[in-house]
Point group: C2
Amino acid sequence: MYTIGIDVGGTNLKAGVVNERLEIVAKKSIPLVWESQEKLAKDLADLAAAAAEAAGVAREEIGSIGIGVPGPVDAAQSIIRHTVNIPITNMPIGKMVGAYWPVPVRLGNDADCAALGEFARFGSTDIESLILVTLGTGIGTGIIMNGKIWSGHNSCGGEGGHMVIVHGGELCTCGRHGCWERYASAGALVRQTQRAMEAHPESGMWKLCASTKEVSGRTAFEAMRAGDAAAKEVVDAYIDYLADGLTNLINLLQPDVVCLGGGVSHEREEDLLLPLRQCVRERSIDRDLVDRHTDILTAKLGNDAGIIGAAVL
Amino acid sequence: MYTIGIDVGGTNLKAGVVNERLEIVAKKSIPLVWESQEKLAKDLADLAAAAAEAAGVAREEIGSIGIGVPGPVDAAQSIIRHTVNIPITNMPIGKMVGAYWPVPVRLGNDADCAALGEFARFGSTDIESLILVTLGTGIGTGIIMNGKIWSGHNSCGGEGGHMVIVHGGELCTCGRHGCWERYASAGALVRQTQRAMEAHPESGMWKLCASTKEVSGRTAFEAMRAGDAAAKEVVDAYIDYLADGLTNLINLLQPDVVCLGGGVSHEREEDLLLPLRQCVRERSIDRDLVDRHTDILTAKLGNDAGIIGAAVL
């Protein structure tokens, strides 16, 4: 049997046929064209059919469909409560897609699905808890405990990016001051790099970018490797902030694994993961109490985590 | 049938016979006299027997024993890994107490047991998740999710007091800078009150204490009620810090209930809980997304939470 995992994004709808080894057999993607809930349900059903056809899998071989959406859901009833960037409120997507596909249709938040996908690749006998921390414009977190998504009593939890680590700090989009994502997201790293460049006209970071508009999450890391002191300060401070939030998560929840996702997570191990692990180890409350500590790893599934996670739902 | 709950503290051992309605039928307490693991196991077994006798309950009517200890445990095997303030390492307490009592002996961390006790009083059909936040010298947190203790992959989690909310802030006993408990514990409130008194020789707080040594967690609240401006500043700032950590917990885990325990939690509702709830509501990410929010309540079981929680294990 196969499962279809669907990742509903703000710009694209992606569906993949996933086999029992959690491999994607075939994928299909179409742009999201928002008209109505009815149109979206039909588009998703058609996309699932197209993915099955591309995989050469008969409809009868599809055991279930899982859908991940950007926003809080009522998983028990497969209802989307609300989405970010798409004007959906209270959509019974399970029932609506189920009208086209007579199989169970399960629903999850996209960040939670991605975490579930990363969790699934370990095999359920090895670990029972994982937090996926995605470093993008903001910081997304997906929490798996006892092998299941934990998203709070009505699915609005899992917002680790909106954990204040700098009381009274920078204003966040959520309205709070000093959220972790203002300091440790890829977006924050870009802002920190831009500020350092403006303060250091002599910095080698300028050689990598014609203007501060071209700064990326890689700029400071690259300049640091070339020996630039201002860039090293940016990277050190960034890792310090990243470690503070990760240590908070570990002190509170002590999961088996923390996975880092997003572009920044692909930096060289010696420049990011190794110093980060050392910072977190030195700071966590369990450092001298136990032999086995939370593993801090790079996420492996990348853009496919959402599809695979939705399929695992 | 009855259960015996035992609370192992740094100075006293307390045992209670608990009935099926989670009421304590009888309690016994003895000072902890540390000699050896063997002696402690025998003391606990004798204390359980004394509690059963005080309750007028025959040994055959005791179905199980639960023990809460101050430190991380291996709950699956009923082994104490390590305790704070008592020199215990790797004690198979389940097996050792089981030699005297032929019933299942379960083990938990004391803060987790207290959270489980608070959770149990709601009845498992009403809520499925709760965080107990105890405001004492530090801040203790016990996490219940899906009706069970969550203490991390090897029981060193649940340390919400050691979540940094002030990056680079005050040095904590754990070695980090800016932990929540440095700003929002009862101990922190006392230090904040002392500093405000030294800065404000005219403050009404001096009338309540002959010296700053007599300051308690109640001083600022009492002076505020008498109209003292400096005291109001202390209370407002304290609630601000407390709300920051609580909002972090709620954004991340969104439990059904957060219970506040410890002396400070008994302040008048209009002075503590009401402004605190308002701060947290304004700051939490789910404020406009859902109708039902995390309830912030005062813990009800007080000193008995450990015994009842251990009995529920």
